[in-house]
């Protein structure tokens, strides 16, 4: 079981809820992914609109746990205020803390992130920081009170997979007991399987599923990949070698000697 802030989860695939072709496809994709946690957000709503209320009814009916994000925030103040607003609307202490530092890559501003994390953890929030693979930043986030980290695989929506395998592997080795969730940048199920094989505890996927030709089928494929990757990790993968090692026994080989 995956344990995040004391909550036990059977599924290691967390799902984003944005960019699906329709609410019906979103609903089916959440079911196909067997996701127990979905990310949600807050946006301005005009008085005449009902989009937000309708979306929230759909999510509530699915009885999944929600992880509100602070997407689009660029400062500590914006992120902290948004977290407070999300806690009231979604009635959860969980927050996926995003503080964006650069618009082309949507790379986290790790300085503002650690400061916002410190404030929110002190106020009783259970913070899931969207961060880079940087070891020192990870250390500061843990010192700020975070008990889960969400390093990126690649820039949000890029579908590039695990861009920096060396640093991600080092991060996993350095913090063996901290739940680490790869958030952002995955493109295909094999990326998710790889993350779990490397020992990451879970993945959070949105665009790769929502923008697939068939999001429901892709959600199911990601669920299988995550399960396979986790099972492989538990089974103990072999170490890669530079040269061949015969798999068929050489003892008793004909025509030799």
């Amino acid at each position: 079981m995956l344990r995040l802030y004391g909550t036990e989860l059977a599924s290691r695939l967390l799902l984003g809820t944005a960019r699906y072709p329709s609410p019906a496809v979103l609903t089916e994709a959440i079911r196909a992914a067997r996701a127990e946690v979905v990310t949600v957000s807050l946006r301005r709503e005009a008085a005449g609109e009902r989009a937000g209320q309708g979306f929230w009814s759909i999510i509530r009916a699915l009885e999944v746990r929600v992880l509100p994000n602070t997407a689009g925030c660029h400062t500590v103040k914006e992120a902290v205020t948004t977290a407070h607003m999300a806690r009231e609307v979604f009635a959860t202490p969980w927050v996926k803390l995003e503080v964006i530092g650069e618009d082309d890559t949507l790379q986290p501003d790790v300085f503002a992130l650690t400061e916002a994390a410190r404030i929110l953890c002190a106020e009783g929030f259970e913070v899931f920081p969207y961060t880079t693979e940087d070891l020192v930043v990870a250390d500061r986030l843990l010192a700020a009170g975070c008990r889960v980290l969400m390093p990126w695989g690649a820039p949000i929506g890029s579908g590039r997979g695990l861009n920096n395998l060396f640093a991600l592997t080092a991060l996993r080795a350095h913090f063996p007991t901290v739940p680490l969730i790869i958030d952002a940048g995955l493109g295909v199920p094999s990326h998710a399987a790889r993350a779990l094989e490397l020992g990451f505890d879970a993945v959070l996927v949105n665009t790769a599923i929502a923008q697939a030709t068939d999001p429901v089928a892709m959600a199911a494929a990601f669920a299988q990949a995550v399960a396979a990757g986790h099972a492989a990790r538990l089974a103990g993968p072999i170490e890669p070698r530079n040269f061949a090692v015969p798999s068929t026994p050489v003892v008793g080989q004909a025509f030799r000697g």
Binding site: R44, E45, G52, Q53, P68, T81, M85, V89
Partner: protein, 65 residues
């Protein structure tokens, strides 16, 4: 008085945030509010006075990644 609601100038007679929200059509909606960048909780809305030129954010649940 004129206040900036989600980036749009609106006229409201409501002197407190709760009254202004009602008048602006957000009455019974599930929304969260901030005035001039500061979170205002549901309980605080009735006693939070608004002033001309205040910036009000009214946010609702939305899809997110």
């Amino acid at each position: 008085m004129r206040i900036l609601v989600n980036g749009v100038w609106r006229e409201t007679a409501g002197r407190e945030l709760a009254a202004a929200l009602e008048e602006l059509g957000y009455g019974s909606r599930l929304v969260s509010t901030a005035v001039n960048g500061e979170f205002v909780s549901l309980e605080e809305r009735a006693c939070t006075a608004l002033a001309d030129g205040d910036r009000l954010e009214v946010l609702a649940p939305m899809q997110g990644g």
